[in-house]
């Protein structure tokens, strides 16, 4: 065994020149090498000092929280503990990433400076919002400054007019001194690497220029929950990244009293219009779409593959713990025909459970509680594995779906993001769909999550509390689990004789080209049974005082369009692929002045309130007279229930 040609000393000194090394020699050599790595006394001292300082700070903070909690017992929901844990986690994350970020910061500032140099595209694009900016010399959209604490701050107020930027990142970071003990006291730094895609509002469109408005159905609800989380974390309306506000998802979060469809129609369509609360010259038209509460599809069973991110970043009370706690809810709605698999991914991917029967609660719950978070995030490998498992357990004619739970921080590594999306796109053809559940804060990647769900034909929800997890897993997700109608498209044709212009509210990233409405190769949203979605328009009638930019057409436009005798405002058409008959179906509803109500119903008031709040949250240039009192007035006429109450609290919380 031992090789006498060598002794440990010569190995430790690095002089190894023989063919064979014994295990013992290797062990000794390794020990020597590891010992040479020891930290210096100076380093040890420095680290200890920082730890003690941080501990003192944490204790102070805990005291503050305890005090604060006792002062507002009734005002807050019973998750103060969670909140405290979240705050601690946040302050820790701040510390952990402050240093590398500070290093990147100068670079970032330089890049932004370049990106902000006036460009022709910027001049042409309409300024989407009127943010009053502090006077700043070279940067229109951003304000960079160095505060007295040694903090460099870059905030992105409105990235919308920027041709160069497609994703919004807002970052705060500390300078180099951050990793020294004293900088840890600076509690106000809100370090954050969350990412949102920029949203460009559509604005008013003249019916003369384009009488058609086409969108894909959207049953996502993530944006509302994510905003709620941020507001509960202490963000005020002006701090919210505008890219995080998607008004259609806010509207779809709420349940409306829409009627059930009749006959062979899969959807009911309802319309109600009334004087727009924030614009005296327009009408607010709310179109509601609803599917039947029950479905016939479930009998063949569901093949559900849960793809769960167990990377280190998921190790938090508002992420993996929350997911585990909420899992039992989902199992209630599953039966013996259903198959449940669990695939986890972190540095590596692993099949934790495959093809368990839906009624085998014990096995499933045991598997889910065995998970714990560590490692990095190789999302791509996890996705591939999940698709393989889903294919192996494929239920012909049933539901085949992957449900991905993540904070979206896919440091994919191997391939680019677009490759990931292409991969998901390709897999959609196999009949396996992908839904996404978003968790957590701090490094949340909203943009990636939404894009993934869109490509996978799935819905996207954000989970900020156990209540929301239950709501999504039980109501929303099972509703959207069963393919019922997919490629659901909505096209509204306005009658130029009655309507001068219209503005689609929200749905900015869901708009389709008008000619794609009947092009069945073009993918659109997927809607399950027991689902609702809402599309709202601000409609400027022909006799309105509002001035609308109209195109100057040299050859004029078809005169009959302006002189038709129809009193219709518009016709709303839906087109979708119905699973029950495996065919494309269309439905239509003509809307005229009779939909205008002097006293609009409760659903309309709720929708109007949500839109006003959304516009304030994203600092929309079309917000008009929207304000807190207006929203509260609308909510007074909204359905009196828990969801309205909690929204009212949120509004007050955010706008006060």
């Amino acid at each position: 065994m031992t090789n006498d040609k060598l002794n440990a000393q010569s190995i430790a000194s690095g002089e190894i020149s023989v063919e064979e090394i014994s295990d013992t020699q290797l062990e000794q050599a390794l020990k020597g090498a590891y010992e040479s790595m020891d930290p210096s006394a100076e380093q040890e001292e420095r680290m200890l000092e920082a730890l003690l300082a941080a501990q003192a700070q944490a204790e102070l903070q805990a005291e503050d929280e305890a005090e604060g909690a006792s002062q507002q017992v009734e005002a807050q929901e019973p998750d103060e503990k969670k909140q405290a844990a979240r705050n601690r986690a946040r302050s820790f994350r701040k510390w952990r990433v402050a240093l590398p970020l500070a290093a990147c910061l100068v670079l970032v500032a330089v890049v932004f400076g370049v990106a902000n140099a006036p460009s022709p595209s910027q001049v042409e694009s309409p300024a989407p919002s009127q943010v009053s900016q502090p006077t700043s010399s070279t940067t229109d959209n951003k304000d960079a400054g160095v505060s007295t604490d040694g903090l460099i701050e870059i905030t992105t107020d409105e990235p919308l007019g920027m041709a160069a930027s497609t994703s919004e990142e807002y970052e705060y970071a500390a300078t180099d001194s951050a990793y020294e003990a004293d900088a840890y006291y600076i509690e106000d730094i809100d370090f954050n690497t969350e990412e949102y895609s920029a949203i460009k509002e559509t604005g008013f469109i003249s019916t003369k220029a384009n009488p058609l408005s086409t969108v894909s159905a959207d049953v996502d609800t993530a944006s509302y929950c994510n905003l709620r989380r941020m507001i509960n974390d202490g963000y005020s309306v002006s701090d919210l990244p505008s890219g995080a506000v998607r008004i259609e998802e806010m509207l779809n979060y709420f349940n409306y009293d829409y009627k059930a469809p009749t006959g062979s129609d899969l959807f009911s369509i309802q319309a109600q219009a009334a004087q727009c609360p924030w614009n005296p010259d327009s009408q607010l038209l709310v179109l509601g779409f609803a599917t039947a509460p029950e479905s016939q599809a479930a009998s063949k069973g569901s093949n559900l593959v849960f793809l769960i991110d167990v990377s280190g970043s998921m190790n938090s009370s508002d992420k993996l713990d929350l997911l585990q706690d909420s899992f039992a809810t989902l199992l209630e709605s599953l039966g013996p025909n259903d198959r449940v698999s669990i695939v986890t991914y972190a540095s590596g991917e692993e099949i934790v459970l495959e093809g368990a029967h839906g009624d085998d609660e014990r096995t499933i719950i045991k598997a889910i509680y065995k998970l714990h978070a560590n490692g990095s995030t190789n999302g791509e490998a996890g996705l591939k594995q999940a698709y393989e498992v889903a294919e192996r357990n494929f239920i012909e004619g049933g539901v085949n779906r992957i449900i991905m739970a993540s904070d979206g921080d896919l440091n994919v590594g191997i391939s680019s993001e677009s490759d990931l999306y292409d991969f998901v796109d390709g897999k959609r053809e196999t009949g396996i769909y992908l839904s996404v559940l978003g968790f957590g804060s701090g490094n949340y990647k909203d943009n990636k999550m939404e894009t993934l769900a869109d490509h996978g034909n799935g819905s996207y929800h954000y989970i900020d509390s156990i209540e929301e997890a239950e709501r999504v897993l039980k109501e929303k997700l099972t509703a959207n689990l069963i393919p019922f109608a997919d490629d659901v498209k909505v096209q509204v044709e306005f009658n130029p004789a009655q309507v001068k212009a219209y503005r689609l509210i929200g749905y900015e990233n869901r708009e389709l080209a008008d000619e794609d409405f009947r092009n069945d190769a073009v993918d659109a949203g997927d809607v399950g049974p027991n689902a609702q979605f809402t599309v709202a328009y601000e409609v400027v009638l022909a006799d309105s005082a509002q001035k609308i930019e109209e195109p100057e057409l040299k050859y004029g436009s078809a005169p009959q369009a302006y002189e038709n005798a129809s009193s219709d405002w518009l016709t709303c058409s839906m087109r979708y692929h119905a699973f029950d008959g495996d065919e494309m179906r269309e439905q239509q509803l003509a809307v005229d002045a009779s939909t205008v109500a002097a006293q609009p119903d409760a659903d309309w008031n709720l929708a109007a309130a949500v839109i006003e709040f959304g516009m304030l949250a994203r600092d929309s240039e079309y917000a008009g007279t929207s304000n807190e009192d207006g929203i509260l007035d609308l909510l007074a006429a909204a359905p009196a229930n828990d969801q309205t109450d909690s929204f009212r609290k949120l509004v007050v919380n955010a706008l006060d």
Partner: protein
């Protein structure tokens, strides 16, 4: 060594405040954690950051341990995971394009081949090599700590041994 089983559910166990003890925990394990971090990150500066981040987790979320062995095992697992995260992150990838800062006054001995061979190991092997060869854990214990099948750990150790030997013999 039995106590290591308890790391299975890191967040499920009783979590208590044990104020004041951070200094004790730190002095007991700083070298253990630092060496592991260094072996991953190959830079005294990064190792210091990582070590501090690992102990900072205890400050941010205090927890109780069965005994010193459990405490150590927890720290080692957290440190390994933290370092893997650091290595994967994009910042690291960018920084890696810059020349590595090898020259460092805090490194006590001259850089030698064994050290270089250890630092050159793929990250996958680094924790098991350190835990096995320096800390004296058995393959089965490492498997439990890292929640990896024992056969995988044994394979990794075998591969790592072969890599190290090749590197050293090749000199």
């Amino acid at each position: 060594m039995e106590a290591k089983k308890n790391i299975q559910r890191q967040d499920g166990g009783p979590v208590q405040n044990n104020p004041g003890d951070i200094a004790g925990i730190f002095s007991r394990h700083v070298k253990t954690v630092y060496r592991l971090c260094y072996s991953y990150l190959a830079s005294p500066h990064d190792a210091e950051d990582a070590t501090q981040a690992v102990f900072m987790k205890l400050v941010a979320k205090p927890r109780t341990f069965e005994d010193a062995e459990h405490e150590k095992a927890w720290l080692l697992v957290v440190a390994a995971n933290y370092c893997k995260d650091v290595l994967k992150s994009a910042e690291r990838a960018r920084a890696a394009e810059m020349p590595p800062d090898v020259a460092d006054p805090s490194a006590k001995s001259e850089p030698n081949d064994v050290l270089e061979a250890v630092l050159a190991l793929p990250p996958l092997y680094k924790d098991c090599v350190y835990l096995y060869y320096y800390e004296g854990y058995k393959a089965d214990e490492i498997a439990k700590m890292t929640e990896t099948p024992p056969s995988t750990i044994r394979n990794r150790l075998r591969d790592a041994r072969a890599l190290l030997k090749t590197a050293l013999e090749g000199e």
